[in-house]
């Protein structure tokens, strides 16, 4: 059984009298431990598709299931739990909270987890992760004190905080230099192989795409070849 099944999903936006299908009749099946790259022109619906899978927006039609559960049937709270426990997001846009330090930004997802989180464990996990993305010396810095690429890496580290089953990464290496980009990709592949985390990653870099298990091309809301 596939981990994620996207079935004939359409996401339509009403702009004035016009209906725009950001995602149009997309079907996709993702196995546990997959590493999928999504490529496509700007505006082809990549971010929208990731958002649908991640449960931060609802499909207009079709269904998305995660481990046999239809996520569009979940209540608001259940959906929050789903995002918190199963999904690690790396957003296309800056997504750190400016008022929180790097360490606190990393701890943020753990605040929403069920049950009393033991204070010790998340904190040491945050330190491990921030070291893995090469920012150990910035752990008490505020986002405004970091470069764009450094902020990006903090967001990458944060996505792993709650041991997600799936990472949804939207151009995660967009503003990184080549060396750092390669380091991050190696880190992803390591997490994919060793921790069995499923990756769905939007990228414009064809070299990166090549290193994934599977490449999906999107055009005008649809997956090419469907």
């Amino acid at each position: 059984m596939a981990q994620i099944i996207v079935q004939n999903v359409t996401k339509a936006y009403q702009v004035g009298a016009q209906t725009i299908n950001a995602v149009s009749s997309v079907s996709l099946s993702v196995e546990r431990g997959d590493f999928i790259s999504i490529v496509g022109h700007s505006g082809s619906g990549k971010t929208t598709l990731l958002s649908l899978i991640g449960g931060i927006t609802n499909p207009s039609s079709g269904s998305i299931s995660f481990e046999d559960r239809d996520i569009s049937s979940l209540t608001s709270d259940q959906l929050s739990e789903y995002r918190n426990e199963k999904i690690g997001f790396m957003f296309q846009f800056a997504s750190l909270l400016p008022l929180l330090t790097v360490r606190e930004n990393l701890l943020l997802p753990t605040l929403f987890s069920k049950g009393e989180p033991s204070r010790e464990e998340p904190s040491s996990k945050a330190i491990d992760l921030i070291r893995m993305v090469g920012l150990a010396d910035k752990i008490e810095a505020y986002p405004s004190q970091l470069s764009g690429g450094q902020q990006r890496r903090v967001a990458i580290a944060r996505a792993f905080m709650n041991r997600p089953d799936v990472i949804l990464a939207d151009e995660p290496t967009g503003d990184l230099d080549e060396d750092t980009e390669r380091d991050m990709m190696n880190f992803f592949l390591l997490m994919n192989r060793d921790a069995g985390i499923t990756f769905i990653m939007v990228t414009h870099n064809s070299d990166l795409a090549k290193r994934s298990h599977r490449v999906i091309r999107m055009q005008q809301g649809s997956i090419l070849g469907q």
Binding site: T57, S76, E85, F93, P98, L99, L100, L111, R119, E140
Partner: protein, 398 residues
Amino acid sequence: MSDQFTLNSMALRNLRRRPLRTAILIAALTLMVSALVFALSFVMRVNASIRLTSERLGADLLIVPTGSRGSAEDILVENRATSFYMDRSLVDRVRKIEGVDKVSYQTYLVTLTGLCCSVPSSMVVAFDQDSDFVVTPWLKEKLGRRLKKGEAIVGSESAFNINLGLVEVDAMLFGSVFRMVGVLDKTGTGLDTAVFISDENIDDILKNGKMTIKAGQVSVIFARIKKGEDLYKVMSDIENSIIEVDVVMRRDVNKGLISTLGDISKIFYLTLILSTALSLFLVWAIFTAIANERTREVGIMRALGAKEKDVINVFLVEVLVLGVIGSIIGIMAGTALSLVMAKTFSILKNLPVDLTVLTRVGIGAAGLAFGTGVCALGALFPVQRLKKLEPLFVIKQE
């Protein structure tokens, strides 16, 4: 600090993010709560005092010589020394009126500063100890015996004026020395500045020739009517059958004062309503701005797994902290104001009742509940709107 990162600490940091805005909100809440505390303190104190002043008389009807109605009120409400007299035989005539239960009487002997007495200008009231139900119930400590000739009890203010405070001090009245043997509780009327003596002393005072009254005269007759009797009927019976007197109803004694205080209370309530409206509007406007400002942050938090209630929680802590700080400062300011006003407002100065600590605590609690309540209410709509937004929509906003 490093190991205590929680949603609450986020809320507190949010408050520090815009200190000026936070200060404005707290100031508005302070204003409102202090207005509430002050108005409540004032109104409760005035109401309790009016009730007490009215009960104080212990009599349902005051009977004075025809035309002296105003003078009687002068004495009872303010401390304006006046004198008016009627014949003591009227006491028995009043007692015989159908429906009258008890009757007592007093004679007002006006003193003038320096002229006759070592007491500052005040009323000397001679009362009949046998029938009295007006004066002695107010003794701070029961005397346990009758006043002897040459003994006096004093109103609370007189006691203060003569710098007595306690008993057993002598004062010169009408050429005789009086020993002060008791002090009355504060009544909030002219009687607080009076000196009370038994009417057995009148003969001596007359003999000394320091007074102009004749023997057998009284100033005011107090009547208590039988239970279930119609007050108005008894009143008009007295007025109709004894043309020499006017009758004043107890509840009318304070009429002017009550309506003045009523008007003042209205002004306070109006101030309270305006400041509440102002606070509500400010909280609403500022939290609308806050909500707009943090839309993206809330979207990110939601995407990371924050539930709607987590979002509300963060804002609720902010709102409560604001509300509690504003209320506490407001309670202190309002209480301080009411204490200062009690000393400077002449109306308040003469009120017999002061608020108990318990009442003040109650008023404080009401202020706290009101302040935080208004704050929460004002923030409710902006925050409700925020939690419902779709995370993706919110995240993409710049």
